[in-house]
Symmetry: C2
Subunit: 476 residues, 2 copies
Amino acid sequence: MRNDAALDVFFRPKSVAIVGASSDPKKPGNTALKNLVTMGYKGRVFPINPREDSILGFQCYKNMLEIPEPVDICVLLVSAELTMQVAKELVERKSRFNDLSGAICMSAGFRELNTSEAKERERELVQSLRSASIRLIGPNCLGTIDAYSGFNTNFDIPHYPKGGLSILTQSGAFANSFLFWAEGLRLAGLSKFASIGNMADVSMGELLMLLKDDNSTRVIGLYLEGLPNPREFFETAREVSAVKPIVVMKTGKSDVGATAALSHTGSVTGADAFYDDAFKQAGMIRARTVLEFFDTLRAFERQPLPDGNRVCVLTHMGGPGTICIDEISATKNLQLAKFSPETHNAIKSICAPMANVGHPDGYIDLTAAHYEKLHNQVLQILFREENLDMVLQILAPSAFINQRLIVEEIAAAYQSQPGRKKPFLNAVTFGHFALEARQGLEDAGLPTFEYPDMLARVAGNMASYAAFRRTTAGGA
Amino acid sequence: MRNDAALDVFFRPKSVAIVGASSDPKKPGNTALKNLVTMGYKGRVFPINPREDSILGFQCYKNMLEIPEPVDICVLLVSAELTMQVAKELVERKSRFNDLSGAICMSAGFRELNTSEAKERERELVQSLRSASIRLIGPNCLGTIDAYSGFNTNFDIPHYPKGGLSILTQSGAFANSFLFWAEGLRLAGLSKFASIGNMADVSMGELLMLLKDDNSTRVIGLYLEGLPNPREFFETAREVSAVKPIVVMKTGKSDVGATAALSHTGSVTGADAFYDDAFKQAGMIRARTVLEFFDTLRAFERQPLPDGNRVCVLTHMGGPGTICIDEISATKNLQLAKFSPETHNAIKSICAPMANVGHPDGYIDLTAAHYEKLHNQVLQILFREENLDMVLQILAPSAFINQRLIVEEIAAAYQSQPGRKKPFLNAVTFGHFALEARQGLEDAGLPTFEYPDMLARVAGNMASYAAFRRTTAGGA
């Protein structure tokens, strides 16, 4: 599949019309306008509302035919019935002005209702827009965000930090849950977001191709319920995976889950075993839980790929350390690193006598005798160890540790690596009490996690993907 | 096994001596004293320090023999070597005054070092204290907390809300991670805490029996690496499970994890399959992840047991709802409830036409057309439905929802249930943005979770335990 340049209009339109724009601040048609401003969109904005002169300072138009300037894209925030009427206006406008190339239909009331009338309505909508070469995202969706261009139709998200994460989703609410969850502690930065709902026209695969060539996208998160053309999609996904990691959350483990998906976006989920296998073949990472989906995306967004699967665990807490080692061993895609005698001795020589270095291989427990500077010293030795591809650290700042200082020491050790850095993931386990340490590490570009077992799972996912990349032509 | 009343001294001593008390605020021997005050301990406190007259207003003594009043328990915060000397003083004191009945040895440097010298030292310590009928918790531990009596030797935790959760742990740091994690949002209240380290004398099983009869303990969390007498332990556990839920996090899925445990607390983990089966037989809930451990404990602490395993899911978001339904079906211990025609029609009649009621059974998606009061109305109907044992709700307060108001409506519906209430669990998925809603629900006694799949797992764990209880004589 080739990247269709026409889809770029969904992320960087020069102008946008909002059908269903409203002056009532409690309505999505108002928030959608406001969020374009707060996200920093610089293009032209045309609210369509027959009863208002202007909304939020933007001049209103009565319908799509009245706008006297070129319109790149139209956002539809009206009922399903009204959508069908506006679709006719869009086709008419295209034939007169030849300007519109995209439409985003947020409205529900189509195939997901699973009635023949609603399905027919969706078919008509697509047919009529296609006849005018207007591509459609939706219906039944939250549309798109481009954090770099500032284009934003997602009425829940007023602004977001720029970054390397892009999301394609069949559930706007699920993706928004992630964005809100990550925003408080600045855990992720966004490139592109597309909530594509019923996928009546523009498909998941087409958007994947667009992200493949998007320079600011480092990792792609997918929420999938089902696909109309899975085989075509997986060919595309394999091509994209050869360049960027794709992390996927897929429902439909069970037939009952499939019933819920059908009512949600009209998706037929398909046999789970087929999907599970297809994800592996395509080099995609399937998350087993929502948290694993969130955490794996964040690791890929902030850290480079490992050169191999040999990890070590550095901690000062025997219990959390043991939990992490246990999960590493259960995760078949990681190996505990065997330190060289030089590394072993260098670490031994600076730790307290009762510290555990190397039981088992790759494990270091500094014990409660740890202190800020010791983490820096041990990490510097680890980052130089050739038999090691990835460093995992588990921290909990007790009352005897200065949180600001330990962050400085850790960040200094990380920065001291010359050239390409080893991936470095941290678990910080003391919740709100450890907020300063956690935020400090995040702001230094070091992704943090809350649970020592999840640390191991995320590292395993990074190693699996890196292994896939080494098997592809365009490898790391 | 019978509950040994002598162990009560570890939680409600009338007086405590602290060997290794320090005037340096950066030392555990100082924090330990301070935390007794902040936790509200009302007993007598005797710091032992030969070089100080008083610390934090408490008169110091040069050694254990000098204290002129009865001493119930002694906390040891000195090196392993010095611990052996003090042990002699304890035995001597006991023979003279016949007062001491417990000792908590926090110090490391015993069996966990896995040297013959260190193992011998631990054997000697136990032998000498046993000869004087002084029971020992530790060594290599953080000791105990009783949030009700205010007794506290855990130098990381200065205070904690009272509640129904008790924790027994082979890793102090792991249990503290949970306490800190939960404290920020007041997600849990504590009854008793015991970090028992190497378990040289007082065993996990003995403390379990004590918690069985502890009125303020509603649920018990265990962190286990390995047990010297697993069969005896599991007999006890089964007896306790018949009265209170026990949730367990057990490492040793792999042989490599076992090596880490051995270096941590000198524990031999034993075959995982044996433990997995034994937990089931004993009616204990084994958590698969750290987060599942935390979340399951919180559910049991705040909510009653379900009468059966029929659940429903109420949400306004198709994606998170589908994820939850999918996990419910994957979790073999839950069933989706089949609503009576009355319930179905009553809910249908108050929801938006495009709301999904009952596809699949037990699933309600109010869609974005939801509003605060509607949750109250639908919940009231659900709480009256006889074919339903447990209600799960997934919320994300969008910009169009008043967080304070939706909490009021939900709490009102919950409170409106006459008599014994159905368990009610909520997922609130918008992270920091949803803090007001989440905190409001927690403060109303409704436990909240962040991820829709974890909501299903926690409900499954509650249903499994309730089923076990129905099979035991002392059943609910």
